[in-house]
């Protein structure tokens, strides 16, 4: 039996376990607070409507018979963002025909159907296609063909000469399939029917375009909904029947109608948040289409947001059924915390002519308060729950809270909802993303937000220091413990309690204070060992 295996290792082991369990427990407690806060958000905190959009032809929008102008509507469906939790996120990522899926097309009702998928081993796209072959007697026979697609072409047998696609971004819904190869820095259009691969021009290293999404631009689509409501126009017919009929059938939106595929352009989202148009035929950029709007957060952040800064976004290009011409787009985004939504409408040249955020009415009844602030203080019980959330954040290790401040902008928004150790959605991280104030003022404010955590850590460190002195822990070790407790707060203190040497203390006959039994001398007064309660006899019968 070893009496003291390596102390630092067992402290680290115990500390890690404490950190994991404490972080997990606090995570769920904060999740409950956040869920209650966002569940209590009334609908008007989560909804934005923009009316009289200029995307619709003016002759229709300005028709004197218009009863209700067209409305662009966006609302947050699930502010608590269950999709952001790890398990939902994992399953949705692996789901067919989703953003990260390698299976681009597959009919799971029919085993013999067409499929298209990316084979990571070969770096090529494998496709099973159904060709129809006309027989001499005129009948058509369905023939299944398997072929392989690479950057250099198509082949019916696997062939290394076809080249290799690297990580790609795919427009799932388009025909031909358009993809962007991140490493090769070029677009490809794959026509499976004609077995043609069209290459776009290679983007140079200093080209400002860095696409991250093509076609159906959306992230966590379950979090928000966006649609275009066409104008309601009174006709003699419907007015007579006292019913209103709208002319919804003329409006096409990207996700709802595959007829849109025949349009000239595909939307491309850049890593900077800019949206560009890509010509389907030439596979070249055809100009800007707009950009992701920045929702107004609790502490106002940068006006320019990137896809990583947003919990969710959806972009809908607009066209009319008659001409399929691109007319502009509507883009809605949800902030990191899921408490604010921004909606913007862009024309066909990419100029924003309408933009709106979710706001709440203040006590006067004006819509002046951003929803990201109103959610914390504007609904019943929300102040108490906000304080609860704030205190729970302050139970987190101060060093990790400080790290959250410094890494506030660099963690992807959705993964922030499942972060355990860093807190990208905490008040301190929000302050870290505050675009106002200079660095020093921002930092002081952050320290103020962390003050309960710092006070707690200091108090715990004082208790620990006293206990460590009583127990006789060496000065160097005691300093490490003090630093560790100030850095890790409650987790550090609990770790100390768990790994504290279990030493019996007895009263020193010399100084009267508790002393360790496993030391020859009293660690306080230095006096030698004495056991006054035992009274052995003075005599001894010893050999030699």
């Amino acid at each position: 039996m070893r009496s003291r295996p390596k102390y630092p290792i067992q402290v680290l082991a115990a500390g890690f376990l404490v950190l994991v369990f404490l972080s997990l427990s606090l995570f769920w407690a904060r999740w409950v607070c956040k869920s209650i806060l966002v569940d209590n958000m009334p609908m008007d905190y989560r909804t934005v409507n923009i009316t009289a959009s200029e995307l619709f032809p003016a002759e229709i929008e300005s028709d004197p018979n218009v009863l209700r102008h067209s409305v662009v509507h966006a609302h947050i469906i699930h502010p608590e963002a269950p999709e952001a939790l790890g398990i939902a996120n994992y399953l949705s990522e692996k789901a067919l025909e989703r953003y990260h899926s390698r299976i681009y097309s597959f009919d799971h009702e029919n085993k013999e159907a067409v499929f298209v998928y990316f084979d990571g081993r070969t770096g090529q796209i494998n496709c099973r296609w159904a060709d129809f072959e006309k027989m001499p007697d005129g009948t058509l026979i369905r023939k299944k063909v398997l072929f392989y697609v690479g950057p250099e072409g198509v082949s019916e047998i696997p062939d290394k000469k076809l080249g290799r696609f690297n990580p790609v971004v795919i427009d799932f819904g388009s025909t031909p399939l358009i993809l962007y190869d991140i490493k090769l820095r070029r677009f490809f259009a794959i026509n499976f029917k004609d077995r043609i691969v069209t290459k776009g021009p290679q983007l140079s290293e200093d080209d400002p375009h860095w696409p991250v999404d093509i076609g159906i631009l959306s992230k966590n689509p379950g979090v928000l909904d966006i649609y275009w409501s066409s104008p309601d126009i009174k006709t003699s017919q419907n007015h007579k029947d006292k019913a209103l009929y709208s002319i919804a059938g003329n409006i096409l939106t990207r996700e709802r109608n595959s007829d849109y595929d025949s349009d000239q352009y595909v939307l491309v989202l850049d890593e900077s948040g800019r949206i560009d148009l890509l010509d389907r035929e030439t596979l070249e950029f055809a100009g800007p289409a707009g950009r992701l709007p920045a929702p107004e957060t609790f502490f106002p952040a940068d006006k320019r947001v990137t896809p990583d800064d947003l919990l969710a976004y959806r972009v809908l290009p607009m066209a009319l059924k008659e001409d399929h011409k691109y007319r502009g787009l509507i883009a809605a985004t949800v902030s990191r915390e899921g408490t604010a939504l921004a909606l913007s409408v862009f024309d066909k040249k990419g100029a924003c002519f309408e933009s709106e955020d979710t706001r709440a009415k203040n006590s006067i009844g004006n819509r002046n308060v951003p929803s990201s602030s109103a959610v914390f203080f504007g609904t019943p019980w929300s102040p108490a729950i906000t304080i609860g959330k704030f205190l729970l954040e302050n139970l987190h290790p101060p060093i990790l809270s400080m790290a959250s401040y410094f890494t506030a902008g660099s963690i992807e928004a959705a993964s922030g909802h499942r972060a355990m150790f860093l807190l990208p959605n905490s008040f301190i991280a929000m302050k870290g993303r505050d675009a106002r104030d200079n660095i020093a003022v921002r930092f002081m404010y952050a320290l103020l937000l962390m003050s309960p955590s710092i006070v707690l850590a200091i108090l715990l460190a004082i208790c620990l220091g006293k206990d460590a002195t009583i127990v006789g822990i060496p000065r160097k070790t005691r300093r490490w413990w003090l630093l560790g407790t100030i850095a890790f707060g409650l987790a550090g203190y609990i770790t100390y309690k768990l790994t504290r040497p279990k030493i019996t203390l007895v009263t020193c006959a010399n100084c009267g204070k508790p002393r360790r039994t496993d030391m020859d001398k009293c660690h306080r007064c230095g006096s030698k060992w004495d056991v006054p309660e035992l009274t052995p006899p003075a005599w001894r019968v010893l050999n030699g």
Binding site: S3, G86, A95
Partner: protein, 210 residues
Amino acid sequence: MLTLIRREIRDNIVYFIAAVVFSAILIALLTAATYNLDWISDPAVYVGLSIPMLVILVLGFSAMGVTQMYIDRNRKISAFLSALPVTRSWILAARIVAGLLAILTVLVPLTIAVIVMGRLIAPPIPIFAGYIADILTTVFLMVFACYCLGLLTGWTANKIAPTFGALGLNIVLVSLVFVKGFGPDIKFLLVLVIVACLIRTWHKFMSTSL
């Protein structure tokens, strides 16, 4: 060492038998689910089946870890064994190996069944690529981590601490799956949790009196 492992297996044979039975039940359920439902189901169905399975596995093996240590502590088995030419490290290592074997008794047949089922009924495209490996690896690591928590909390003379302590910690740890999913994050975290638990268990076992 083999003698100690055999001893542990024999002493905890109930868990091994339960593992075999549970594995058989799971394979039967999996076969039934696969052939009765659409041949590619909504992943939510598998998640729905997985959750009670995970709970039973986690609680079962955590109980095994608690039982092994609690019985040893209270019946002074290690005190007896320490008088023989074995070290405490060997006793603990044999215990952990036995636990690991019990877990593999459930998971290995299940994995084989899943792979075979996949080969038989899956379409010729990698629909389940990554799913099976990720989920099974995560389940294995989670169950082993909970077993290690059982070992850690079981080494006590108190009855309440290992029961409720292990239960509470297991519930918190299993919730990690909901937070992190089945990706590389959770695997890394679980490996660290396992290592930390084993270090703490080893220290407790080595330094307390028998």
